[in-house]
């Protein structure tokens, strides 16, 4: 088994929301008791609907969102709520992010080569000629050319901007890249280009990716293992092949009811014959002051009385396959 690069144990992220002037503030638990590990060289997919806490979790790994409790092991450094900044900096070395919106994540006042080399500048490299050369090299790597180095960001299309964002992330030779919905702001015909680029770079530099998306089809083809999140809780983790194969085989009898509903809701160009489309009732409820019991229970068609009170717990149902539903699997 390969080396573990990220390991989260009961990781929680809470936000206090003060809606009244006095009294205890409300607690929004954005990530609740997350347990998962990411191995070196793999692509780990994190899926869920908007507002389920995927990006917050990514933020916790990159430490721009503080964790509230639990433990995180990043690059072999154990981190908790009270870890000193030095520990975080040590652990974060070699972690980079690619954001969803290349129109918002790149500073329009910088030239392209400055954008790309800025992380190196922050890492202590200040020879301008060297920075420029490295930026040009990276541009070639992501399919752009040297003449783009001196241009401004507004001259580029969405796909090209995302390539620049990828080059920027690669500039400090990271081992682990967090991709937060890197394709969702792009046109359909450009999606595949960016995905292929990510795959090529992974092969070349044996990168580890955390791939956050709500597009399950991308998860299918890009990731080795995946986790499904619902309202701050990770409801299922397992090998991507196993989850999709078991869905293809029997409509996901052995999967968590939410994973099953999510898979069945994808509008496909070539629908699988005989596939039952599960249309979930209702909407995601509020995560404010939500507890430890199954948060999917109000929308679950198999919900039992215990589901509403008992705290959820992960249960191993196969090699590497953990579900939080006590009844399926």
């Amino acid at each position: 088994m390969s080396e573990i690069i990220v390991k989260a144990s009961d990781l929680c992220v809470d936000f206090d929301i003060r809606s009244r002037a006095f009294g205890k503030p409300d607690r929004l638990s954005a990530v609740r008791n997350a347990n998962f590990e990411i191995r070196r060289g793999e692509t780990f997919g994190l899926v869920g609907e908007s507002g389920c806490g995927k990006s917050t979790l990514a933020g916790a790994l990159a430490h721009f969102v503080p964790i509230s409790s639990g433990e995180l092991e990043l690059n072999g450094v154990r981190l908790t709520k009270n870890s000193p900044k030095a520990d975080w900096n040590k652990a974060r070395h070699g972690v980079q992010m690619i954001f969803q919106d290349p129109f918002g994540s790149l500073n329009p006042r910088f030239q392209v080569w400055q954008l790309i080399s800025e992380p190196m500048l922050l890492a202590g490299e200040d020879d301008e000629k060297l920075l420029y050369e490295r930026a040009v090299e990276l541009l070639g790597l992501v399919g752009l050319s040297e003449k783009d180095a001196g241009r401004n960001i507004f001259e580029f299309s969405g796909g090209q901007r995302q390539r620049i964002a990828i080059a920027r992330a690669l500039s400090v030779n990271p081992e682990f890249i967090i991709c937060d919905e890197p394709t969702s702001a792009l046109d359909v015909s450009v999606h595949s280009q960016i995905c292929n680029l990510l795959l090529d770079l992974q092969e070349k530099y044996s990168l580890t990716y955390l791939f956050i998306t709500h597009n399950l089809a991308l998860v299918r083809h890009l990731t080795d293992r995946m986790a499904v999140m619902y309202m701050g809780q990770i409801v299922e983790t397992g090998s991507t092949d196993e989850i999709f194969d078991s869905y293809a085989k029997d409509g996901g009898e052995s999967l968590h009811p939410y994973t099953r509903a999510l898979l069945s809701a994808i509008p496909e160009v070539y629908p699988t014959p005989g596939r039952e489309r599960i249309i979930l009732e209702g909407e995601v409820s509020s995560p404010i002051n939500a507890g430890d019991s199954c948060r999917f229970a109000p929308r679950c068609r198999y919900c039992r009385e215990e589901c509403k009170s008992a705290p959820i717990a992960g249960r191993e149902i196969g090699k590497d396959h953990v579900t939080c539903c006590p009844y399926f699997g």
């Binding site: 609907e49 908007s50 299309s157 796909g159 090209q160 046109d187 359909v188 015909s189 450009v190 999606h191 595949s192 280009q193 995905c195 292929n196 795959l199 709500h214 399950l216 089809a217 991308l218 299918r220 083809h221 991507t240 092949d241 999709f244 869905y247 293809a248 509903a261 999510l262 898979l263 069945s264 809701a265 994808i266 509008p267 496909e268 160009v269 070539y270 629908p271 699988t272 489309r277 249309i279 979930l280 209702g282 909407e283 995601v284």
Partner: protein
């Protein structure tokens, strides 16, 4: 075949911008027949939304300058209206009553300082003679039909108190309130999550089937097209590249762009090593290439493709299926 309720011939839209004239739509011919669902598919900037807006003459001019050889709408009573030069008051009476629209972003389509109820009431106030009380009853019934729980309570609430999916339901309720003959939905599910998208799509197509409403679905998602559309128009850079029945286009596409678009959507089946991709980017609308607009990204492009824009021609076995390509489907016989 059912009669047409909307007929567009040679629609051209140009925007005047700092970079010069931008041709957003270049000669679109489009028909919508009664009760059918037509999908307009394309990437951002291809002119699909502009086409949708011009159907109701909603483009503000300037900056838009538009021309059409024909733009006619047949009302419920069989009256033929020339949308190009009908008086504004006549169109105003049609909008919201016979032709209605659903927009992409439900949060900006609703007025944040008016309650849901007041906004729905407006439709009845302008288009019917119902009293306030009757309008309320009809509106609440409509909210119930689109699956909003406790509609009496929602009636008093404001848009910020509703989730995205609920707001989109309210918009659908408003659009369908007077049983329109034509409903134009501009990316109605793009801002929503997959599970909510599934709810909204099935709701829309059920309602339209029940009321016999023709639906124009503007989208970039071919999966959505498959689940609702009867006929499809594929647009690229302001031109229709391919058109035909939904099954024909998705199962036997002829145009390289349609093929590429379909191939670049990963299926859920076996894991692929790489993604099929269309090389290059959508061209800048102010500087489109000579000849076929797709020629720079097309693997089958030949010299003629770089010189001349191909005409829309019929597929050999299906006259309904038309495409714009020099090379696909056998050589051109002019």
């Amino acid at each position: 075949m059912k009669p047409e309720c909307l007929r567009i011939r040679g629609l051209k839209v140009v925007f005047h911008s700092a970079e010069g004239f931008i041709k957003a739509v270049e000669g679109v011919d489009l028909d919508v027949r009664e009760g059918e669902c037509v999908a307009i598919v394309g990437e951002s900037g291809c002119g699909k939304s502009v086409t949708g807006l011009s159907m109701m003459r909603l483009l503000s001019s300037p900056p838009a300058i538009w021309r059409a050889d024909e733009l006619s709408y047949t009302t419920r009573d069989g009256e033929l209206i020339d949308v190009r030069n009908a008086p504004e008051s006549r169109l105003e009476a049609l909008r919201g009553d016979e032709i209605s629209m659903i927009y992409q972003d439900p949060s900006s389509a609703l007025n944040p300082v008016m309650s849901i109820g007041a906004q729905i009431e407006e439709i009845y106030k302008y288009h019917t003679k119902l009293s306030k009380k009757e309008a309320r009853a009809a509106g609440i019934e409509m909210l119930r039909r689109v699956g909003i729980p406790a509609p009496e309570k929602r009636w008093e609430q404001f848009p910020h108190e509703l989730s995205g999916g609920m707001k989109q339901r309210v918009l659908i309720a408003m659009a369908m309130a007077l049983k329109p003959k034509l409903l134009i939905a501009d990316e109605p599910t793009t801002a929503l999550d997959v599970t909510i998208q599934a709810q909204i799509l099935s709701l829309l197509s059920d309602l339209c089937k029940k009321e016999g409403t023709a639906l124009v679905m503007i989208t970039h998602d071919l999966g959505v097209v498959r689940s609702v559309a009867d006929r499809v128009y594929v647009m690229y850079c302001g031109k229709i590249m391919e058109q035909g029945s939904c099954s024909e286009i998705l199962d036997r596409p002829l145009h390289p762009y349609t093929k590429g678009l379909i191939a670049s959507i990963p299926a859920l089946g076996e894991r692929m090593k790489r993604f099929c991709q269309i090389p290059g980017n959508v061209p800048n609308p102010a500087a489109k290439p000579n000849g076929c607009y797709f020629c720079n990204r097309c693997s089958a492009a030949s010299d003629i493709c770089r010189e001349r824009m191909p005409a829309l021609r019929e597929a050999p076995d299906d006259p309904e299926h038309r495409f714009r390509c020099h090379n696909a489907g056998g050589s051109e016989n002019e």
